[in-house]
Symmetry: D2
Subunit: 451 residues, 4 copies
Amino acid sequence: MSSSQAIATEIDVLGPARIPSPLPMQKFVNDQDKLIMHISPETAEDFPLEGETYDFEEAGPREKIYFDPRKTKCAVVTCGGLCPGTNDVIRAIVMEAHFQYSMPSTLGIRFGLQGFIPEFGHDIMELTPESVARSHEFGGTILGSSRGHQRVDEIVEALDRMNISILFLIGGDGTMKAASSINEQIKKRNLKISIVCIPKTIDNDIHFVSKSFGFDTAVAKATEAIRCAHTEAMGAPYGIGMVKLMGRQAGFIAVEATLAMRDVNFVLVPEAPFCLEGPDGFLNSLKERVMRRGHAVVVVAEGAGQELCRWERQQNGQQEVDLSGNPILEDITGLLQRKIKEYFLAEGVEITLKFIDPSYIIRSVPANSGDRVYCGFLGQHAVHAAMAGKTDLVVSRLNDRYVYLPLDLVTRKRRTLNINSNYWRAVLASTGQPVNLCSKSNSVQMEGLET
Amino acid sequence: MSSSQAIATEIDVLGPARIPSPLPMQKFVNDQDKLIMHISPETAEDFPLEGETYDFEEAGPREKIYFDPRKTKCAVVTCGGLCPGTNDVIRAIVMEAHFQYSMPSTLGIRFGLQGFIPEFGHDIMELTPESVARSHEFGGTILGSSRGHQRVDEIVEALDRMNISILFLIGGDGTMKAASSINEQIKKRNLKISIVCIPKTIDNDIHFVSKSFGFDTAVAKATEAIRCAHTEAMGAPYGIGMVKLMGRQAGFIAVEATLAMRDVNFVLVPEAPFCLEGPDGFLNSLKERVMRRGHAVVVVAEGAGQELCRWERQQNGQQEVDLSGNPILEDITGLLQRKIKEYFLAEGVEITLKFIDPSYIIRSVPANSGDRVYCGFLGQHAVHAAMAGKTDLVVSRLNDRYVYLPLDLVTRKRRTLNINSNYWRAVLASTGQPVNLCSKSNSVQMEGLET
Amino acid sequence: MSSSQAIATEIDVLGPARIPSPLPMQKFVNDQDKLIMHISPETAEDFPLEGETYDFEEAGPREKIYFDPRKTKCAVVTCGGLCPGTNDVIRAIVMEAHFQYSMPSTLGIRFGLQGFIPEFGHDIMELTPESVARSHEFGGTILGSSRGHQRVDEIVEALDRMNISILFLIGGDGTMKAASSINEQIKKRNLKISIVCIPKTIDNDIHFVSKSFGFDTAVAKATEAIRCAHTEAMGAPYGIGMVKLMGRQAGFIAVEATLAMRDVNFVLVPEAPFCLEGPDGFLNSLKERVMRRGHAVVVVAEGAGQELCRWERQQNGQQEVDLSGNPILEDITGLLQRKIKEYFLAEGVEITLKFIDPSYIIRSVPANSGDRVYCGFLGQHAVHAAMAGKTDLVVSRLNDRYVYLPLDLVTRKRRTLNINSNYWRAVLASTGQPVNLCSKSNSVQMEGLET
Amino acid sequence: MSSSQAIATEIDVLGPARIPSPLPMQKFVNDQDKLIMHISPETAEDFPLEGETYDFEEAGPREKIYFDPRKTKCAVVTCGGLCPGTNDVIRAIVMEAHFQYSMPSTLGIRFGLQGFIPEFGHDIMELTPESVARSHEFGGTILGSSRGHQRVDEIVEALDRMNISILFLIGGDGTMKAASSINEQIKKRNLKISIVCIPKTIDNDIHFVSKSFGFDTAVAKATEAIRCAHTEAMGAPYGIGMVKLMGRQAGFIAVEATLAMRDVNFVLVPEAPFCLEGPDGFLNSLKERVMRRGHAVVVVAEGAGQELCRWERQQNGQQEVDLSGNPILEDITGLLQRKIKEYFLAEGVEITLKFIDPSYIIRSVPANSGDRVYCGFLGQHAVHAAMAGKTDLVVSRLNDRYVYLPLDLVTRKRRTLNINSNYWRAVLASTGQPVNLCSKSNSVQMEGLET
């Protein structure tokens, strides 16, 4: 049924699946079952790759599997920052491997990819139904996590040495790229190890994932901080409450929380550049709001307004890169607080500005019930894929269906907010902020900067 | 792009839309923008109507509108049982009508369709941004609700008399059928009144609605009751905790809550008939579980096991219908409690059985943040549709998209759980209950009953 | 300083305490440190025993202890219904015994006093810091509980056999009476076993305990049910929400929840008898409220209106005692629902009555932070008392101080609500219900009944 | 019964109370009803004023009142930082004044004492039962608040001009001192205005108030932040979670939250000075903990370690006072983070340090049910006192009783944590931190600093 198509969506396999599945299914999923997606004008920006139709492999248990369950050892590793639901995914993998496939052992690699490298000295955890039974009641990851790269050959060495046939990686963009490298190395060595990723990003910025796990939970916690900011703003003459939320390149948490808690008057995200100065700039718009209603709530995604931070550094003759050559990421909320105070002081309005940074409180809570169900399926589908011999893949929920996606499709680029969408219009309608927080002259200046 | 198709998905209109929309959109949604849905084998049971492809109209603001906003009065009515998020939908309608379309007035009809009938004497509420501003912080409906039918001609009479151009109905299956009748009457009288439904069902049993609003919130509350049942069961020798959850014809809440709170050992739903007696029946399975682990948690959808209740009545020579001729719906949880106590007494096992019926606690709470965002969009899209002159329609979120559906498509039949799906398999895997709670001989007996 | 005094408040000891405490205290509590309580007119009813001044022993670590910690084995048992905070008490006992007194072993007796009786076959748990570390995150009791008596000689036999020197009992009135009997038997056998009770009653009806542990948590959960009842009542024409709360002989939870959630219009408690009929009776008062405001919320303690139930049974010629000779406790909320429906039907008012019974949801939740701190101190002070060789005692928080009370002082009678107090006036002021829900003629009738 | 006594506890009155109270009480409270408090050795430090016995006037409605309710106007003002329960106190005052005393009007002064000063231009709110009915569902103060002094003569001028007979002030130490000045000015002018304070301090540092309102709610929220810090610390190799909590001069929130959430390993409070360096210093103790268990949680009251900050400034040659002559309060958590990072870097241990500052999230939430009941009584007793003509007083809950205290008794000094108490021992037992975080040599140095 699908038409001409430039995008590869086939899932790689280690070899033919010949072993009958031990699962008591009346109906298995076939590799030929597809989720077919048309890219309509409205969705074009969300799924920007070429080709007007995709057909993705449906996730689920296959009738024939590749690995002999009784002889297969698998391992789980969690990488990057904390995200609600991670323990639910781990739990689901362990339960599915143990009870449904009767696999003898699931290992937990401690503290991310560090856990593969002997010099760090981290122990290996044996994961059993008992040891994970209540893990979902707690936030974080029972395995621990870490950031940063480790040598791929050492990782593959460790997998081989520990006799691991399946590696489940729960992590973000960097982790999925590491998984690709690990998979290449595995192929090069001609090993039969399946690499299955469960995408984890609290920023919700992964393409072909409708909503990443933990996002709903994070938004719910974020709304609590916004409610507090609103209460603080209402409680003081000319009160301003500012909340910093996660989102380095995409403002999804900030925007969704704004839609859930309708007290926000300005939401600033990386996707919508803004100016501070000028009649249409943020500062004057904020002042107008504060004078009109006596208070205001501002939500800022951490990656918003980076061009302003750069401009500020240029003005101050500061470096663009630090000593190691990395670009300096300035804290936009620090800059905004300073500018707001200066501006209102100059305007003769005595404001009270309260700043809330709830990030660790948001990301370290247990998953809510919706995310729990979601994470349960992600873990189960990861096991199904691996047992069927599939590899180099990502498990995703896309348009209410669980699918398997090739790793390289997902990591090609990051998803960002479409500011021409009806979704963003609803945000502007809710906040009442100007469509464009920039006077013309400033925006020219901005454009100059952005190049 | 869509193929041969037997299903009408066109939305009816009152007339040509000629007035430019006042919305500050850079990009409007066209009537031609479609969500195209293929019915794959996996989805076939969920969308059982003929035709292998549907194309549904995307929801959203249209560039041209039918009603002149400054002269248009609209009304909102809520019918049926309480459901989390109802106030959010009302709030969104009022806000969108007022701030985006500058409509002069939104009326609130009190206590369901009763509010149209003068003899009940309910007042009409004037809904303003101020009066609804904080309504989403509370559960229930600020308009009040009621069940049951009212005379359609009186309703249309009232709409005409009050000069209402748009009626938003928030209600379930019965309400949508009433809306159809109202619409027919409107056509007959040649009135220009738009009828727009927002489907409300805490049971999540409406076709072409991926997940009805408030469902996630309800499941979250249901999990709290399950947790308590588990605690009670663990706290007594041979403790059994039983939780009754909503679901007259579909077990979605029971099942989703089971997947979210992994302590459930048996979940009984209308879609999966079961026997009490026999070696594979529920009672013996429950006993095996209790003896093996010392406790058990049973979740029962209110509509489960109705064939058992009928059988019980037949045995006792009771009537199938009450004095008014309505079929008697027996309380399955009452029957189960009695049978469990009798069975374990006969088996000489002293159990402690705790029963929890949390239904009003589940349905009357405020919406969680996810449902808030969802309800906000439902309300906004309802206003967009009505202003564009569309009528006889339902606003739905389907596969992560908001669409407009013809009323009669949605009410054709109810959605139920597919017990051949991977979803149900995951439930059985989680509970560990037998795939079939029925010995062969019993199931014959059952089949006899079911005819 | 204390005056003539008829009440014994001395705590019994097993023998002189001669061993230096291992605790790193700069200042210990002396047996002579007293909490002195004057019985003012306002407090007279709360502390009704003779004598106008009490002096109670302050709880806390003593400089000299009786038991050699390294050789002392203790045991914990939980009896009766679930109550929030029970696991916190257990946890505190284990932690204090292990880390502060370095005791080698704390045993957990399973399922209440049944755990001492071999024929039940319950295992004994070894309680360690690891096994209890996270127990406070969950409701209920990790030991399990049971109701009912067991033979005292068998219990003492078991204590002796297991070489237990200290028994901590967490339970209510019945448990404390059992503890007394156990202690007598211990004395008779000349054993050196300390018996220390931590009073557990969700009804808050124990004398000389200002507020029993878990009560605050229970009230907080109860308010959620009341909020739901209010939402349901508001959501229907002439809606009435009824909530049944715990309180067999005392209405503390009902009343405190009423004060915390100001939407209650009638609170019915055992201490304030009421009539149904007559112009000042409950039914007419309810009708007046419903007609005036369109809805009403009624909170009923389970032990309220027992005299009405008896009257009803007499009218119907039913027995006062069941086959075993026990008095029949009728469900007042069942009676009230029936009477309300009949009354409004007769009055021609079509009401919608929603009934919520949240009891298991209230009592099985984890303790809130205030109760956690409280339970921690109860557990620690229990260990201090026992190690100092004190016995036959109860640990209590009284007027913000922790004290040791003789067992027989506490069990002499139950505490009930003083309906002449300012506290009850505040309740009436909040609900707006009549001070006396009884017409004169009816109250005569009632008096006749009450004899 | 009370003995020789140096402390004045009599409450001042505006004049004789001659009007019969309109309250439907069967039993009023007499001015002679006393709460008698003995100062035992254990309590001595908590109540440090001379005299071994206090007798405080019981709060409650008096049989005779001073003001004629129908002609009396009262006003409420809230000052200082937000605190959970403030709206509950306001609500209770309004409800009691309106429904129980039938007073015609209660005014709300906006934004603290600023509201009395015309130049600020704040409006006056008319507070009615309707306008406050749901206010307790929200945090903060519906009146708004502000910090800082205003001219006393202008305030009294405004009271006189607005014809206000009773002023209720909800605020902390500074507010109570301002209330004293206002009262003096009122006396000087021979006005008949009652001044009644309800003490508000989230730090719980007011003498003769067992636990200030909102404290329990604040602690509950603080435990959530600690839980997150623990999750973060567990989630990284050598993870350290640090939480900053309120408490400028007293560590009550930090300590109570530590007792409620048993995952804290170090709690630093103003009352217990500590050193950073040396074998017994904080840094080495922290390292030992981290190396032993892999992670640690540190809770810091904002006023802890100020002597270290001073020392640091001296070393760096910084000023002790700012340009306006005010002492510089350095942020101890900033200093600690820097020192910890430096120390572990030097020791070659790669830690992950996560810092959480939840203060605005803690103080702006609605009150929990316990605080709601408490605040309700505070508001009611405030009205009773004022109507009886009492003035210059504070309403307090002391040892589970509500009492009236003279203003100057309460403001004489601040309450701090007694680090020789059993309470503090329990904290050390829970954290496992050294009793004294200071080596000898360092403590000498510290002593030198503290002078």
